[in-house]
């Protein structure tokens, strides 16, 4: 504290400018002392950085295995050259079959290399997105007026929103010079992310109810597992797409991995608070039928994963009251399943009546 006071920059006095923009000479110019100014930008405390790394695993820059990448690239290159040479030889030797094989192999290598490059590019994009998200998170509560607008601009580009988008234009129109970084980011979230949140929430609830119903009607356990995996991956991809992330194979895996890690690390408390309500709902469903309870359980897992994925893909943290809640979804799920059970019973009823009417 006292250090900060000692090194605080001198206060700049009031100044008057004439309309040409030149300022009048001022006897109290203390500009020479400006060298102290960078004192404000202190490095973040190491503890915080460690905690952040723990909470958002998988996206920090890991030491790259350069030799492996080099080896792979060299193999591809040499392979390509080799096949090129073969192709030439085959051409000269008039071996048409050889030419065809070599051309095929060359095309395969080209496609493979392209796919690899695309994967790498998408991984890079994912990491860029997550780093930007971290940076925005740092400014989320900042009352300073700094790079807020630039950050919003970057978020817009990252999410693939056009400069002419009416929402972005509305955001810019309402922007004022006195808005702090936190205020700007909140406005950005309100103008550009809230509509996406709604879409994402609808996506989660659709996936959850589909999974619930499918699992409830599916006869085999391994089919349940496949269904769950299929629906969840699809939902994840859609959510990521809504927030402007295009996933490749590797980046999808990485996102999924960090999602699971994230759930394990931070979801525990949330899980504990929700568990009671979940169990209650499951109990109600269990009364109706075991299969319904299984379906509800699967649906709830999907929804939980979906909301977590929203929090992970959304470029800004959720504000107060914006976080999607499981409670409303839980009721909707139960209602869906009950409707299903009702239909089931109705379709069974004529048979029962028939059976009752049978003479014993």
């Amino acid at each position: 504290m006292t250090d900060a006071r000692d090194t605080a920059p001198p206060l700049r006095p009031a100044r008057r400018f004439d309309d040409g923009g030149r300022r009048e000479e001022d006897p109290l110019t203390l500009q020479a002392h400006r060298e102290f100014v960078p004192g404000q930008q202190l490095a973040p405390e190491p503890q915080d950085a460690e905690a952040d790394a723990l909470l958002a695993p998988g996206f920090e820059r890991r030491p790259r295995r350069r030799w492996l990448a080099g080896l792979l690239l060299a193999t591809l290159l040499l392979g390509g050259l080799q096949f090129g040479a073969w192709l030439l030889d085959a051409w000269r030797g008039d071996s048409l079959l050889g030419v065809a094989w070599s051309a095929l192999a060359l095309a395969a290598i080209g496609l493979g290399g392209g796919a690899l490059l695309r994967e790498l590019w998408r991984l890079r994009q994912l990491r860029g997105h997550m780093l930007l998200r971290d940076r925005a998170g740092d400014h989320w509560g900042s009352e300073a007026i700094g790079e807020g607008l630039a950050l919003c601009q970057q978020l817009r580009k990252d999410s693939g929103i056009a400069e002419q988008d009416p929402r972005w234009q509305a955001f810019l129109a309402g922007d004022a010079a006195h808005h702090s970084d936190a205020e700007r980011l909140q406005r950005y979230a309100r103008h550009l992310l809230t509509p996406r949140d709604q879409q994402a929430r609808a996506e989660v609830s659709r996936a959850a109810s589909e999974t619930a119903v499918m699992v409830a009607v599916s006869p085999l356990a391994w089919v349940d597992m496949l269904l769950l995996a299929w629906r969840t991956l699809r939902m994840l991809e859609r959510i990521a797409g809504l927030y402007g992330l295009r996933l490749g194979y590797a980046s999808r895996l990485q996102l999924f991995r960090s999602l699971l890690l994230n759930m394990a690390l931070t979801g525990a408390a949330e899980l504990a608070s929700d568990a009671g309500a979940d169990l209650l709902a499951l109990g109600v469903a269990g009364r109706l039928s075991t299969r319904l309870a299984q379906g509800l359980g699967a649906g709830l897992i999907t929804a939980r994963l979906g909301f977590r994925a929203m929090a992970l893909c959304r470029p800004l943290p959720f504000g107060e009251g914006e976080r999607p809640r499981l409670s409303t979804l839980r009721q909707a799920l139960l209602a869906d399943l009950q409707r299903l059970a009702g239909k089931d019973r109705e379709s069974n009823r004529p048979q029962e009546q028939y059976r009752e009417n049978q003479p014993r």
């Binding site: 605080a8 001198p10 206060l11 006095p13 400018f17 004439d18 300022r23 009352e143 006195h178 702090s180």
Partner: protein, 458 residues
């Protein structure tokens, strides 16, 4: 048909809510401008009120002024204030003295909750009370005896404000405590004391007790305002009081002031407020100098003491305050360049550091921000030798156009060394020229509204 409508009306009336919002601040802090702007913003809800949830979701239908329920309280002069802002050349509204009230009926559409099914449109009756922060400075008097208060007041008069209090002190010390009390003589010396308090106020001091002496409201000239702290030594004060003497008369009036002026305010008004906003003008205090800043700090501390639930039984019984949200706002944020706002906010928090901790401890919801009720300037950037330099564009109170950099705002209460080498000179601006019916430009009024009444517009 008729029956349904009557029933509907009854139900609706039962669901409408009422909220009592108190606005205070030391005089010149911008209370009148704040209330005027608040009413104007709510009356034009399509204006830029982005942070107010109801306005953003286009559920805010508008506001209208209604006759107030408390007939004993002066009306807040809203029309006059709006007139002043829209006159040519525009003027700041006349400051209000004493307590005044304004009732607004705010109509909105419900966004959530079960009540939506009963009545879609609802009305929030917002009673805005404007009272001088100086009145809250009287609270400590309730716990001080006359001798204790005299001791404290004399110390203030002799130390920080010696130049201002000399005349009164000399006159007061010529009085003999045990002599027969002379009404006229008392009135004369009390007038000198009042003049000293006014001079202290003008010099930028904020901690002025008793508060009614400079803002008497309807008590102007009444004997209850004709007393002053005892200027005598502690030996003289230790002696028994002779009835009918000067000293007895002063003590009697002091007690009467406590009983009939301070307590009724707390009992009849303060204890019924739901929300409170305290406006602070940090810039004027900085302009006035180190004593004024220190004094403002003490005054704010004394004011904030009011929001803390009774430390002693006496206070506890007097006001079981219902206030559950307090907003501390640094006003006139448009008088400094935008990049200084974080510093202004941090200075405000430094001024209020101790009371803030207390309020947090008492689990009151507390928010601080800097705002401009009516934004009088435009933030621009000028070319300062090739580099952009922030500046403000506006008109001075006399009407000349200004393009200035008002100076840095210190992040904390300045150290003595800073005062020696730095002169704060924040300029005053006059209100902007606006076309008729145009919304008043503001800074963060919508955020304040969201904090103060947003939860009742759901």
């Amino acid at each position: 048909m008729g029956v349904t409508r009557t029933l509907r009306n009854h139900v609706r009336r039962g669901l409408d809510t009422q909220l009592r919002l108190a606005v205070t601040g030391l005089s010149q802090a911008g209370k009148t401008a704040f209330i005027t702007s608040l009413a104007a913003q709510l009356q034009h809800p399509d204006a830029a009120l982005e942070w107010l949830g109801a306005a953003r979701e286009q559920r805010l239908l508008g506001a209208r002024r209604l006759p107030q329920p408390d007939l004993g309280i002066p009306r807040f002069p809203l029309d006059e204030a709006l007139e002043a802002l829209q006159s040519d050349p525009p003027r700041w509204p006349e400051p209000t003295r004493g307590l005044s009230e304004m009732r607004l009926a705010i109509r909105y559409r419900r966004g959530q909750g079960l009540q939506r099914y009963w009545a879609e449109d609802a009305t929030l009756y917002l009673d805005v009370f404007d009272y001088p922060g100086e009145w809250l400075l009287d609270l400590p008097l309730l716990t001080l005896s006359y001798a204790e208060w005299s001791h404290q007041a004399l110390q203030q008069a002799r130390e920080l404000r010696a130049g201002l209090s000399r005349e009164w002190l000399q006159a007061a010390q010529r009085l003999d405590p045990d002599a027969e009390a002379d009404e006229n003589r008392l009135a004369e010396v009390a007038a000198l004391y009042t003049r000293y308090l006014h001079a202290a106020k003008a010099a930028g001091f904020a901690l002025i007790q008793p508060g009614r002496f400079i803002l008497p409201g309807d008590l102007e000239g009444a004997p209850v305002l004709q007393f002053f702290p005892a200027p005598w030594s502690s030996e003289q004060l230790a002696a028994p009081v002779r009835s009918g003497s000067f000293r007895a008369a002063l003590e009697k009036r002091y007690r009467h002031y406590r009983r009939s002026v301070i307590k009724p305010f707390y009992r009849d008004h303060f204890s019924r407020f739901d929300r409170q906003i305290v406006l602070v003008d940090c810039l004027s205090a900085l302009n006035a100098g180190p004593q004024a800043v220190e004094d403002t700090r003490q005054a704010l501390q004394a004011i904030m003491e009011n929001f803390r639930y009774g430390r002693r039984d006496l206070l506890h019984r007097l006001f079981r305050s219902r206030i559950d949200r307090v907003v501390l706002a640094a006003t006139k944020a448009d008088h400094v360049t935008p990049e200084q706002h974080p510093r202004l906010l941090s200075l405000l928090r430094d001024l209020l550091a101790e009371p803030q901790q207390l309020l947090r401890y008492h689990a009151l919801s507390l928010h601080s921000l800097c705002l401009a009720a009516v934004s009088a300037t435009r933030a621009v950037s000028v070319d300062d030798g090739g580099k952009p330099h922030p500046a403000l564009q506006g008109e001075s109170l006399r009407g000349e156009s200004l393009l200035i950099y008002p100076g840095d705002v210190p992040e904390r209460i300045p150290e003595p060394a800073v005062w020696q080498q730095h002169q704060f000179a924040f300029s005053a601006f006059r209100p902007p020229r606006l076309p008729r019916q145009a919304p008043l430009p503001h800074m963060r009024m919508d955020q304040v509204l969201e904090i103060l009444i947003g939860d009742h517009l759901r």
